[in-house]
Amino acid sequence: MKVTERFSFILLVAGLGFFAFSIAVMAFLPWLNLKDIPMRSVEDLAKNVPIEFYDLSSRYPEQFKRYFGDVNSASYAKVLRLGRDTYVAEACWHCHSQYVRPISNEDIRFGDVSIPDEYQNELQLPPLFGTRRVGPDLTREGGKRPNDWHVAHFYNPREVVPTSVMPRYPWFFDSSEKPNERGLAIIAYVQWLGKSREGLTAPEKMIYPGCSACSIFGEKYKEVHIHEKEKK
């Protein structure tokens, strides 16, 4: 067995051979399985401009015009790219995961279980799966809450969720406390999450009886506000 203690054998078999084997089994095979899923660029993703993006432009028309111009697919693609870069720069993905597991009631809490197709796009290069949830998963975050909620939340999360441990991001805002370029971009990006896949079931929403805000916002924005009866 002396050969197993020789430099060249260790170098070739352990150093290169076993490593190559692991890549073949654990990376190349999955890639072979998944390579036929069409790869989508940001421009492909930005073809359908969602209602949240129009809403954002109408709430902050001056800032929006200055940084991104008009609402169209081109500006939406630009915003998504910048939003994702901001998401990575601030390391949001260290505390928010981006995949819903088929276990632990996660489909009830967050929405539909993740499938490979929704990750085959430019905004998941590299993928933003994440390995820790200090805050909730964001895979199905897009459209769950209105833009106003995100604006307030990025400025100071504890104004919206008193126990939140999320950091503040005042540098997403200009001197008039309106979202700046990065602020608009990250909100648009978060509102996009989940929109790389069609036909998702909307998570079940509840209307709190006797709450006027619920009756105004309807089912869609139930997580936006504290229900009136709960207010002290």
Binding site: M1, G15, N33, N105, R133
Partner: protein, 454 residues
Amino acid sequence: MERNNQRQLVEIGLVKAHLIASVVAFITLLLAGLLFSLQFLYRYPFPTIELLSPGRVRMVHTNLAAYGFLLNAFVAGLLWAVPRMTKVPILSAKLGWFVFWAWQVILTATVVGLLAGYAQAIEWGETPIFVDPFVVVGAILLVINLITPIIRCKDKVLYVSLWYFTAGFIWLCLTYLMGNYFPQFFVPGVAGAAIAGLFIHDLVGLFVTPMGWGLMYYFVPVILKKPIWSHGLSLIGFWALAFCYPLNGVHHFLWSPIPMYAQYGAVISTVAVEIVVTTVIVNFFATLWGNSNVLRTSIPLRWFYTGMICYFITCLQCSIQVLLTVQEIIHFTDWVVGHAHLVMFGVFGFWIMGFLTYLWPKVVGKPWHSELLNGWHYWLTTIGMGLMFFDLVAGGLIQGFLWKNLSPWENSIASSIPFWAVRAGAGIMIFIGQVIFVYNLWATAWKPVAEVDR
């Protein structure tokens, strides 16, 4: 005569420089970790300073741990151990000094880049994209310098440590290239995530672990003055690790959209690693058998064996937590954070503290200023680390069950705060231990005493 030869073999100044750089990186990363932990207690002192945003500070903590603290210290250990084992000096001292300074510049650029917002979205590889090529070149130069003595070694059959180093050098370069380039530019989506998972694990399993064990196979017999108990177990330990460890990576993304066969394979090979680890642990404790009194008298050996116990705990924990059933609860929680701290610091950090304690008097040529302070360093760090581990594991279980029970998210935060407070306290304890140690290092280096035997 023999002694003089050995002294000329080793570039003492270079060893010292890497040890100092490692300690500086360690103190910095501890400060970053402590700072980050305050965010979880609503006490973050700089909430409105962009460059000190908690998310960015966290990346400084983890990246300095991998590339500043562990890598510098391992290089110091290698520069000491490899020439002594092979009886051949490193390729070039000048190259060594060049790599040393280049590496510190790379680390500084990484920290500045991360704080300025140029992070890359690869866990453990957040090093900005423009720094990556320099890391690769630096690592290759480092490897060329250190692998030369192994190639030139006259013995045809290498000692155990050199198996680990040889393989670890190749793995370091390949792993870094794979993890930082493929998911970023070439392999999209879920397949890219599989590679990112491999990278997270290979950096620990194929660089840090082989270097750590290689150094243990050198330092433990040297300090104990007796050979390793079983050569056969050493062989099994190395070859099984080399085969099983690279297959583990996907276990960081269990229950994800990655094809299930890769996930099952990762689970099986992770459990297999536990069997491998047991053989190595048995080998080392059998080596200690009959001499356990040295754990009271020799602080380096005490660090080494404490680290090995931690290694056994983390690997046993790993073989349990990797099971898909257990993953349902503990994944995404602080359990994993506790596990990671025990691996990176409780094992490899402790081993580094051990050989740092052993090497420092030899490097500066003076006896320790105070053995008592080294004892305090050991106990404060060990108790702090143990506290942090059990605290985070317990907190993780609570988070996991609250999530599964569909409790509102705020409940999981509110329930975690006591655990996060204890975690910060444990961190402060570890930090005080290191401050004592740094004082002792400093006092030893500046002590006006005659030289000791190297």
